[in-house]
Structures are given as C-alpha cells and as structure tokens.
C-alpha cells in the first residue's frame, strides 16, 4: 500500500481517538478511498490489519455502503442526483443525455476510461436542481442541454476533473 504521507498521518491520529480500534473502520475506509480513489482488496486487507480485524469485517462495510467503491473511477467521476427534487426537475433526462453524449451506461465507466456515470442521492442543493457533481465540483441547474455542454467539455478535456490536489 502506497498511501500518501498525509493520509498515513491522518490515520495515525484518527485511530487512537476511538475506544476500540474497530470503530475507526468506516473513517479509515473513506480516508484510504480518498487517497487511492477506490478500495482494492489490498487496501481492504491493509485496513483490516491496521485495525486488528479480519479482512471480511472490512469487506462487509465496503460492500454495504454505496459511497465506498471497489473499482477505480474514470478520469471524470460524474454523479447525477435523482432524489425527489432533482428527479422532478428532470434529472433522468439529464442523465440520459450524459449517457448518450459520453457513450456510457449509468452505473458504469466508459470504455476509454474517461467517465464514470452514476446516480446518487441528494447533493443538498435542491433549490438549484438538477444537480450534477463532477469529482468534488458541483454543477447546478443542469438541464439536458447544459449536460450536453458539460459532456463536450469533458471530451475535450477542458473541464476540471474536480479532484482536490
């Protein structure tokens, strides 16, 4: 496991804050995923070892929560909200447009590895629905036409991948 030094530092600070090491499992999953982009088997085993657990204990958590991923994302990680306000404002049409423009099925990564397109639940900006996130960047009021523009920018590489440095 090649974790960044800052991640290791965060983990070392975080674990002793819990009365039992096991309690740090979920925060650790998030930290390692932030670092690596996803949780490989190697990462799961590393976390288990760090917390003196068996890998299956971490595997259970990772497969339970949708925000924890076991596969890497494409360059752009696009998350379309489909909770009620966004859905009413046309999130499904937005997503269909993205699917068409980027040639990727929702829930999958495009073959060229450019985009991972997913439905998620609320981004907490319902007043400006539909909301789309690219990496950690938020884009609001994305109707299908704006989605088309976003897709074009992603294909040309103009758009930031929205990942913190």
């Amino acid at each position: 496991m090649n974790l960044k030094p800052e991640t290791t530092e965060k983990i070392d600070k975080l674990v002793p804050r819990y009365p039992t090491k096991r309690s740090a499992a979920l925060p650790l999953c998030h930290l390692v995923q932030e670092d690596q982009g996803y949780l490989s088997n190697e990462a799961i085993e590393w976390i288990a070892q760090r917390l003196e657990l068996e890998p299956i204990n971490i595997q259970e958590i990772v497969t339970f929560y949708p925000m924890l991923r076991t596969e890497p994302t494409g360059k752009y990680h696009v998350r379309v909200c489909r909770t009620l306000p966004c859905a009413l404002a046309g999130a499904y049409q937005t997503c269909h447009r993205l699917e068409k423009e980027l040639n990727v099925e929702v829930g999958h990564t495009s073959e060229d590895g450019l985009v991972t397109l997913e439905y998620v639940e609320c981004h907490a900006d319902c007043g400006r629905a539909p909301v789309v996130m690219v990496g950690e960047e938020e884009y609001t009021d994305i109707d299908p036409d704006k989605a088309g523009e976003l897709a074009a920018k992603m294909k040309s590489g103009e758009l930031s991948d929205g990942m913190p440095d």
């Binding site: 088997n41 657990l53 068996e54 890998p55 299956i56 204990n57 595997q59 259970e60 497969t63 339970f64």
Partner: protein, 574 residues
C-alpha cells in the same frame, strides 16, 4: 450474582404461570424451562453463541409491574393486585433477560401476528425447494412456517436469484437462496473457533454469505456451521443429497478421536452410517464437535476390516479361537500390548486376563497436537479407563523397546496385542516371528497379518460400552449399526478367555452382569452403579490419586488441568 457466587432466582410470569428462573436467563430459555412443549420460536439465537437479535422471530409481549412515578408505590387494580404495564410493542425474547415480576405473553394475538409477519418476510425470497433440500425434516424454517405461517403466499413478484452451490470450504457447500441471514455461522466462526472468515457482503435483499476472497471455511470445526444453520443454506458436502433425515435412526455415541470424548449422535439406516453430529453436553463439548471426528465412521466399511476369527489363517469359531488363546496364555511368559481405544468393560477383562496369565502390560501413547477446543493431545478415548481399571498404573510409553528386549531375551513367548501395530512401535517383524501372537482388533495391519490367532473386534459404532474421558467422566455409547456378520461383542469373547484362565466356566454374560462385576471390583466406581444407570450425559468419577499423573492434555474447551487438579484436591462442598 450473590456474594457466594451462586445465581439467584427471580420469579417471572409466563402466560399467567409463575416461574422461578435464574437471574439473567433470557426469555427463550425461561420459556423452555416451563416445559410442557412451550417454545418461543427463534432462528438466530443459539444458547452457545452471542445474542444477535436479527431474525425477530422470538417476539413476545412483555410487561412490568406498574409503579407510581412520583411516589414509587405500586399501582393496584380493583382486586388489590399490582397492575402490569404492558409494553405497546413486542420485544425480542433472546435479548430480554428475566427481571423480578416480569410478565410475558408468548401466545397473544399480537405475538402471533408478529410471528406470522416475520415468517412471511422470510419466505418472500426463500426458494421453497424443500422437496430437494437436505434440511427438510430438521429445518426450523419449515417447522415454524407450518406452525406460524399463513399457509399461502401473497407474493406475486419474482423471487431473488442467488448462487445455489457456493463452495465455502472443503466440507461445506452454501445455497445462498435458502439463507435467512441469521448470522449463526458467522458468530460461530468468530466466537468459538476464532477463525473469522465468514461475513455478509452487499445489502438488503442482495446480502450474501461469503468468505473473503482467497480464504476458505476450512477449519476443523466448519461442519458445526451446518449443524447450527436453521435452514438448508449451509450443507455438508459429504452428506448433501445422500439421505432424507427422517429415515435415519439416531444413536447416542461418543467420539473416539481424542480424550475429550465429545458426545455424538450416529445417524444410520439399515446398518449403514450416514453421518455423525454432536449431541449437546455442557460438561463435555457444548454443542460442537470436530470435522475429523465426524469422518471416523468411514472406517466401518473399510476394505481392511477383520471379519473372521482365525487360527493360523484358517477360519474358526469364536469358541475354538478362545480356547486356543487360553492354551497359549496358560503357557506363561505372556506380554500384553493393551489399548486405550478399548472400552472400560474390555479393559476390565484385559486386566483380568493379564492378572491370570501374569502378563506384563504395556500401553502405547497416541499423542498429537491439541487445538485447545475439542481435540486434545491424547488421541485415544479411554486412557483414564485403562488407569482406573488397573490395566496400567503409569502413563503410556511412546514405543515398546522394553517389550522388544523381553522378546529378544526369550522372556516373552506369547504376545497379546490389542488394536496396535507393534511392528511400527519398535518390534520388527523378525522379532515378532519369535513369539506367538494373539491379535485382537478391528482392522488388519502388519501385526495382524502375522498373528497366530486373530480375534476381530467391533468398532465403537457396533457395540455398547463406556469410555472415561479427560475429566474422568464415564460416558456410554450404544450400538448404532451391526458389526460384520458373525463377530460378537468383544467382552463376550474375552469372557471365554478370562474365565478358563481362572479355571472357571465361561458364563453367557451380558453387559449388565459385566457392570455388576466392575462396580463391585473397582473402587472408583460406586457399587450401586449399573450399566443402565449410567446417564446419557455421563457421570463424573473420582480420579483419586490418578489426578497427580502428568497427563498430556493442556487447556481446552472444558478442561483446565490446573483447575481440575485443584477442584479434586479441594474438600467436597467447598
């Protein structure tokens, strides 16, 4: 707990009946104690595992005596009895402990409705393939669905599809569709065996029992997960699709794998054993047993069983063989290699034979590595028996070099070997050919091949008898299947040898009569104890001075050598 370490009883009311149960008892166990067939149905709760409380089948109604909140005084009804404040919602019995004055309803309309609801949810995605399911007949889901379900399905949607035959390990196959996610197997692996490989991945209706990639459920206790699985999800790869359980006869037996002496049940039909499962005995093995112990019955049908009484390779009757053996033994210069695999009754006879023929008795140790649970270092079931019957007075040796010297010097002319291959224990075939050999055993080996007299004996599954385990517990096993045709129980043939050696006429003895003699002769066994009087769960004997011997067993599930010795030396009643 009170100060002297005993558990105090509390009185609770179950369905209108006052019951006194130990404090801390949960409602499932408390209702069981009421008896009369009363039961709180449950799936995930297991008496020997931690409480998970996830199946919700054991919902009951609970109420506590009402008290005035301000004054703390009891609130009474018109009759002057304390009012019961019933909780508005049902509570799970497994995680509710008995408290003084607690009232429980196990059969109210709300409880029935709850069970019905839980059953309906469990059956939504259950494949209902009982006709081909191995668990049918011993399936809790099947039983409770018949008892508490509605009898027809309101579910018109498609059922979930999950893997039907996942290999979890070398001996366990998983049918995921049948799994009701009770987590007994997960808790067993973690809490009892400390081999945490099982877990549920994914969630909701997609939850699936799996091992972590690259790991397997391969510990020596994996088949216990099959026993405790309340449905047909975990199945024994060996027993899978072999036999319907209701055709099988169950016989109480004892595992011969090690000196733990796990209590077992032999499941057989028409003289064939199909499987061995553990039988609950909280003093010996709780509800568990090893996988290796379950496989021992395979030796019953082995090709190398001894099936005929022979003298010099010629088939003879048991009477001929016995008298030939008597002649040899009367000739003097006898040595005996006894066995800690023999039952107490047989060892009692061997002791008599050794005394009457003035034979020197050796016994060989069979030690292995203990696993700290139910496989002890001593891989024989009845070493304590050999000591208590006086057959030997020291712990066994690893090999037989003193005996080899005796044969070499001509001091030993006749050798009686019980179930051991002495050629592998320091007596070469050349050396063995110098003496007359009487071999008593279940299977052939190099010693039996060269023996002058061969007396086939029955395996533990084919005879009645007793063993004494590591904690000096006398436990009995019963005949599950008949032995090879014409082979009599060992003690009957031994009577024909032992009696003439003392110039007595052999009697047609039964095990009851043998036990009368044993009880009369052995100090450590109460005179009043009879064969029939030995309880199914065994009886603890007084080890006396034998407790000081440096036995090979180290701490395991129910035995701690240090604590055991201390308990024996402490005065009774302390």
């Amino acid at each position: 707990m009170s100060q002297n370490g005993t558990v105090e009883n509390v009185t609770i009311n179950i369905d209108g009946q006052d019951v006194s149960v130990p404090q801390g008892t949960n409602i499932i166990e408390a209702v069981k104690m009421v008896g009369k067939g009363k039961e709180v149905p449950h799936y995930c709760y297991h008496p020997k595992l931690s409480v998970a409380g996830n199946c919700r089948m054991c919902l009951v109604e609970m109420g506590m005596p009402m008290k005035d909140r301000a004054t703390g005084e009891a609130i009474l009804d018109e009759d002057g009895n304390q009012k019961i404040g019933w909780m508005p919602k049902p509570t799970i019995g497994c995680a509710t402990n008995a408290a003084p004055g607690m009232h429980i309803k196990t059969n109210s309309p709300m409880v029935k409705e709850s069970r019905n609801g839980v059953t309906e949810f469990l059956l939504i995605n259950h494949p209902l393939d009982c006709p081909i399911c191995d668990q049918a007949g011993e399936c809790r889901l099947q039983e409770f669905s018949a008892e508490h379900g509605r009898g027809y399905s309101r579910f018109i949607e498609d059922k979930n599809v999950k893997p039907k035959r996942t290999r979890l390990g070398p001996r366990v196959t998983l049918d995921d569709e049948r799994c009701i996610l009770c987590s007994r197997c997960v808790r067993f692996s973690k809490e009892i065996v400390d081999d945490d490989v099982l877990g549920f991945v994914d969630r909701g209706t997609y939850s699936t029992l799996t091992c972590y990639p690259g790991k397997e459920l391969e510990n020596n206790y994996s088949l216990n997960t099959v026993d405790i699985c309340p449905v047909g999800a975990l199945t024994s790869t060996d027993f899978r699709f072999k036999m319907r359980v209701w055709f099988l006869k169950r016989t109480n037996s004892i595992c011969t794998e090690s000196s733990v002496g796990a209590n077992t049940e032999i499941w057989s039909r028409e003289g064939k054993i199909y499987r061995i499962t553990p039988r609950r005995n909280d003093a010996v093995n709780d509800t568990w047993m090893t996988d290796s112990g379950r496989a021992l019955y395979k030796a019953v049908e082995s090709e190398d069983r001894l099936t005929h009484y022979t003298i010099g390779g010629v088939h003879k009757t048991p009477e001929d063989v016995a008298s030939a053996a008597v002649d040899l033994l009367k000739g003097g210069d006898v040595a005996m290699v006894a066995s800690a695999h023999s039952s107490v009754e047989e060892q009692f006879y061997y002791k008599a034979i050794a005394e009457r023929s003035r034979a020197k008795v050796s016994l060989v140790s069979h030690y292995g590595e203990g696993d700290g649970l139910l496989q002890s270092e001593d891989r024989t079931p009845n070493l304590r028996g050999a000591l208590l019957t006086g057959l030997i007075d020291q712990l066994p040796e690893a090999e037989l070099s003193p005996l080899a010297r005796g044969i070499n010097s001509g001091a030993v002319k006749t050798l009686l070997v019980v179930n051991e291959d002495v050629t592998a224990l320091g007596i070469s075939p050349d050396l063995l050919s110098k003496v007359k050999v009487i071999y008593v055993g279940t299977h052939t080996n190099d010693t039996a091949k060269d023996a002058d007299i061969v007396i086939p004996s029955l395996m533990v599954f084919e005879k009645d008898g007793t063993f004494i385990n590591q904690t000096f517990r006398l436990q009995k096993f019963k005949t599950a299947v008949p032995g090879p045709s014409g082979i009599r129980p060992d003690f009957m043939v031994l009577e024909k040898i032992a009696a003439p050696l003392a110039d007595e006429k052999p009697a047609a003895v039964t095990l009851d009569e043998v036990w009368q003699r044993i009880a009369a002769k052995l100090e450590s066994i109460q005179d009043s104890l009879t064969w029939r009087g030995i309880p199914d769960e065994g009886i603890a004997l007084e080890p006396g001075a034998l407790v000081e011997l440096p036995f090979a067993e180290t701490k395991n599930l129910k035995y701690d050598p240090v604590a055991f010795k201390e308990a024996q030396s402490a005065p009774a009643g302390a």
